[in-house]
Symmetry: C2
Subunit: 205 residues, 2 copies
């Protein structure tokens, strides 16, 4: 074995020890709250990747999309087809469907739509048969004060202990970060859009 | 209309103008290279979310996973079932399947496995019938020098112009960042695992 290979083996052994001891220490079994925030691309798609993951195990899933609008995106088409064709019945899917808030430009009707949508969320967060609840772009409802922050925090905190919740959207506030078990910030380092490249079907929507 | 609503309307109008003019400026139609990097949770799941998105349009997709190991994760189970049950034939799925590199601890066999896996990637990056190619955890192959960086960059740069490529993994190097149209860095702000919470089926794997 060459020196390089020997060095590699030693370094990997050390890394394995570290990973193994961390896995051993992690012993709490419970549903988790994941907050995917930041200004970069990949927050909602990450949530939908976890939906795909949960579907692999036949988990029951609720997806509620705030803001997301009139035009169906690829993942929405795929999930809707699964549901309507009864290929994967264990999924509940609801969209606020008012378009982006800078399109509607009407605060009062936006608040009504947010409250209607939240009313769809409440039963999901009280039903232990749901393994995973995705609240896509919920953070904007807090930032714009369309929904009461404490009401949202309480509903998530008081969910069934084995249920996991994923919240996406920029910002979200420190209280939501505090409540979350895992917080990832997706930072925009570079974006094709800014270089004049059109949003692409199957990648951007 | 109250002052608050009027102010909101004005601010939203301004935001809409900004978004609209950006959309108008973005006129280049081409496949994009997306790099999802950083130390946070959500890189691979984001790539799989875009797979779900592309499936909504019936796109042809290739997924090649470097490093990912012996145990199938939820998204892999779901995709494998789609393929074997012929529910979505337009997907090619290949896994290096040697386990994490700190488990194998053998540099020579890791390099062989990396080269075998890269041989599966090459035809995908030359086949214009593929709309989307996902190279999950490819960055580690560059970082560990298991594969030649320039060879990877050339293969991605010379792909069919309408094909999009998603690369995931920590690091990746400045040349790959340079080549990519979109780069998102997923930063670990907080992770349940570090607080002793066990990795969770349907969320973490």
């Amino acid at each position: 074995m060459t020196d390089k290979n020997e060095k590699h083996k030693k370094s990997m052994e050390k890394q394995k020890e570290k990973v193994d001891s961390r896995i051993e220490e992690a012993s709490i079994e419970k549903g988790v709250v994941i907050l995917l925030t930041g200004n970069g691309k990949g927050k909602s798609s990450s949530a939908f990747g976890m939906v795909l993951r949960a579907m692999g195990y036949g988990h029951k899933i609720g997806v509620v999309q705030f803001i997301k609008g009139a035009q169906l995106s690829g993942e929405e088409i795929f999930i809707r087809d699964l549901v309507t064709q009864n290929k994967y019945p264990e999924i509940t899917f609801y969209q606020m469907g008012t378009g982006f808030t800078w399109n509607t430009q009407d605060r009062t009707s936006d608040i009504e739509a947010a409250e209607r949508t939240w009313a769809e969320v409440v039963p999901l967060l009280q039903d232990e048969s749901y393994d995973l609840v995705v609240l896509d772009e919920l953070t904007y409802m807090i930032a714009y004060k369309y929904l009461d922050e404490q009401m949202i925090l309480d509903a998530i905190a008081n969910r069934p202990p084995n249920q996991s919740v994923i919240v996406t959207g920029r910002g979200g506030g420190s209280a939501l970060q505090e409540l979350a078990d895992t917080v990832s910030e997706v930072k925009d380092i570079k974006h094709a859009f800014k270089a004049g490249v059109k949003a692409r079907q199957g990648v951007d929507y």
